[in-house]
């Protein structure tokens, strides 16, 4: 499946639009990561645990979005966007949405 965050795909033609597809996930980080982050907040630097959490959440949200697109019989998702929100103290939501389309390789460049 082709996934892009542009409206068009170079070298491809959009032949059919299948509609909006979306995927979201709310993930909590464990207490160990919270404690480590608290310590890191003294000396600064990257919070690898939280970066990983975001990576995992994003992957899951995109997977759900792609599963929905597949159900609609699309072979590409264009114009993908992300938003996040903090639901409660320890959990963050990551929401990804895009337009499911059917594309064909265009004949002329």
């Amino acid at each position: 499946m082709i996934v892009t965050n542009t409206e068009t795909i170079v070298g491809h033609e959009i032949t059919e639009i299948r509609g909006l597809v979306q995927g979201n996930t709310v993930r909590a980080k464990n207490i160990g990561r919270d404690i480590m982050a608290g310590l890191k907040n003294v000396v600064g630097g990257e919070l690898k645990g939280y970066t990983e959490l975001l990576t995992e959440s994003r992957r899951q949200a995109v997977e759900r979005m792609m599963a929905q697109a597949e159900e609609l019989g699309a072979n590409a998702v264009v114009n993908v966007r992300f938003t996040t929100s903090a639901v409660t103290q320890g959990a963050a939501e990551l929401y990804s949405y895009g337009t499911a389309v059917v594309v064909e390789p265009s004949r002329v460049g």
Partner: protein, 167 residues
């Protein structure tokens, strides 16, 4: 006699602890920021051959077998003791919080470099439609109030494609 001696030991211990945590924070924060900025500068120079745009179209795209694909990156950078302290002082007088502004900037630059790296690893030489946005993983001041852990969370996405080389 014995008790006062024990009290003194404890007193000294806590005094050292009270002094050393800010000290470690200040030194560690400075060092980690300095090293990060240096590494950013070096890697930005290395990444200058990749065409980075924020356009929705594909500038200078060439026909290739490689289908354009989305690339993602995310970075979370923690504040340090000194930065949080400066921000608290700023909270009294108002004005620009330079320490947090720098922290956000570092996080954005790091995210952009990771986008470029991800595109390069997949064999592309250009990225377009770069989107950077802030995330909140629950450490923000909004959700925690006084016990907030300030951090810069940046979520980035872009589309990687093949472009004709500018030379």
């Amino acid at each position: 006699m014995d008790e006062s001696f024990v009290d003194m030991i404890f007193g000294v211990f806590f005094l050292i602890l009270a002094v050393s945590i800010p000290l470690i924070g200040i030194l560690g924060g400075r060092v980690s920021e300095y090293r990060h900025l240096r590494s950013l500068e070096r890697r930005e120079e290395e990444a200058s051959d990749i065409i980075v745009t924020q356009l929705k179209s594909f500038p200078a795209a060439t026909r290739s077998d490689q289908t354009p694909t989305i690339v993602y990156a995310e970075t979370v950078i923690a504040s340090d003791y000194l930065k949080t302290f400066f921000a608290k002082i700023r909270g009294i007088f108002g004005g620009e919080v330079r320490s947090f502004q720098r922290m956000q900037e570092r996080s954005r630059r790091e995210t952009l470099l990771r986008l470029i790296k991800s595109a390069r690893e997949q064999g592309f030489n250009a990225i377009c439609n770069v989107r950077l946005e802030t995330a909140d993983v629950g450490g923000g001041a909004m959700t925690r109030g006084k016990n907030a852990m300030p951090m810069a969370c940046i979520l980035g996405s872009a589309t990687a494609y093949q472009a004709s080389s500018s030379e």
